[in-house]
């Protein structure tokens, strides 16, 4: 069992997502950076579907009531375990009674804490992920707070300590790296100039960007004038309702990238979709940092996904 001494700014239980309910309006939730979540799980011998703690901007303080093995991956965050500095991207032995104290993220936004056996909260609709907007899943559907206690799944921790991530598999969170997008479904609604600017001008992450959506600011986006069809609202950014792909860039006047807790459909024009592998990097982009979109084809998006999967396979095999 783990006791929460301080929940940090926003710490939630997350796994690989809640699937199969999108059509009834239930978003997937799950770790914003699935890559780091998965590596943290591999380091402690878990499956990617096991639940980790997602700590955002400021980490939590915990007391472990049992011997176990933990790993931290994702945003660089200084921490102390039983008074000793804790390495990132490496599995670390924990003894019953040890206290972990995490500081602020210095590079990236979200750090994942995996525990051997996984965080064992009751699954809701097939997932342990927290969807705070409606208060389901995870720990009571909310962020962690002082006094909460988390159960841990059974695990054989033999030989799990001191396992490290290959250096080529530790990502960089440099905000000059482009975020790849596939244009569509509604980019035809943009003026030619705005479609061009979407993928050439810098965008800046606003302070209210969260797990629901990443609000961006930059140049004003403009739409081709038209007589709005029946069923679309009066605003030029309105279309007849459609499903919003996860990662889609919804535009009213400024873009919002819909993230893992977002609404699943509606009538705003979605002008592009961030490819799955780069959603992990976008989830690590900090408030006020820049975002550059780069337009890619669907084939290039699939290649990016396969490359990321190959890298994760390499990490898993290196630990076997």
């Amino acid at each position: 069992m783990i006791r929460v001494l301080d929940g940090g700014l926003s710490t939630t239980v997350q796994d690989d997502g809640r699937f199969g309910h999108y059509h009834i309006g239930m978003p997937p939730s799950g770790a914003m950076d699935q890559y780091s979540h998965t590596v943290a799980n591999y380091l402690v011998g878990n499956d990617p579907s096991d639940a980790t703690l997602e700590m955002t901007y400021k980490g939590c303080d915990l007391r472990f009531e049992e011997d176990t093995v933990i790993a931290l991956a994702g945003a660089t965050m200084a921490g102390e375990l039983a008074g000793e500095s804790v390495p990132m991207w490496e599995s670390v032995e924990v003894e019953a009674g040890d206290e972990l104290s995490m500081q602020f993220a210095t590079e990236g936004a979200r750090t994942y804490l995996a525990v051997a056996g996984g965080i064992d909260v009751e699954p809701v609709m097939g997932s342990r992920s927290t969807y705070t907007l409606v208060g389901i899943g995870g720990y009571d559907g909310r962020t962690l707070a002082e006094g909460d206690t988390l159960a841990v799944g059974d695990a054989d921790t033999g030989g799990l300590t001191g396992r490290t991530t290959p250096s080529n598999a530790v990502p960089s969170y440099d905000d000059s790296d482009p975020i790849r997008v596939v244009l569509g479904l509604c980019d035809y609604r943009l003026t030619d100039e705005s479609r061009e600017e979407l993928c050439s001008e810098p965008w800046k992450v606003k302070a209210d960007a969260d797990r629901v959506g990443y609000r961006l600011e930059g140049v004003d986006i403009e739409f081709e004038p038209r007589d709005q069809p029946f069923g679309a609202g009066p605003d030029p950014s309105n279309v007849v309702d459609l499903g919003y792909p996860v990662g889609s860039i919804q535009v009213s006047t400024l873009p919002i990238v819909l993230m893992r807790d977002a609404v699943t459909g509606g009538g705003y024009a979605t002008v592009g979709t961030v490819v799955s592998s780069d959603r992990n990097l976008l989830g690590q982009r900090r408030t006020h940092e820049e975002v550059y979109f780069e337009s890619v084809t669907v084939d290039e998006a699939l290649d990016a996904r396969h490359e990321e999967q190959a890298l994760l396979d390499e990490v898993r095999e290196s630990l076997a």
Partner: protein, 82 residues
């Protein structure tokens, strides 16, 4: 006189008061004790209490109310008690 600058622990928006209708946590000339809340940083619709690590008197409020700040930005300067 020794001075000490309270820095932003994370990026976000700097707020001098707990609510727009409320007075600021501190003004220049106010005494603060270690652990006192002196400002808020808002990020992702969460608000983090910025506390003073030291006892002292507020000599300068560096950041503007509701300004966007980066992690490590100087927020408030104290003249420390001797």
């Amino acid at each position: 006189m020794t001075t000490f600058t309270i820095e932003a622990p994370m990026p976000g928006v700097f707020y001098r008061s707990p609510d727009p209708e409320d007075p600021p946590f501190v003004e220049v000339g106010d005494s603060v004790s270690a652990g006192d809340t002196v400002a808020l940083v808002g990020v992702m619709k969460n608000f983090y209490d910025v506390t003073s690590e030291k006892d002292g008197v507020v000599s300068e409020i560096i950041a503007e109310n509701e300004a966007e700040i980066e992690a490590g930005a100087g927020l408030i300067t104290l003249e420390l008690d001797d």
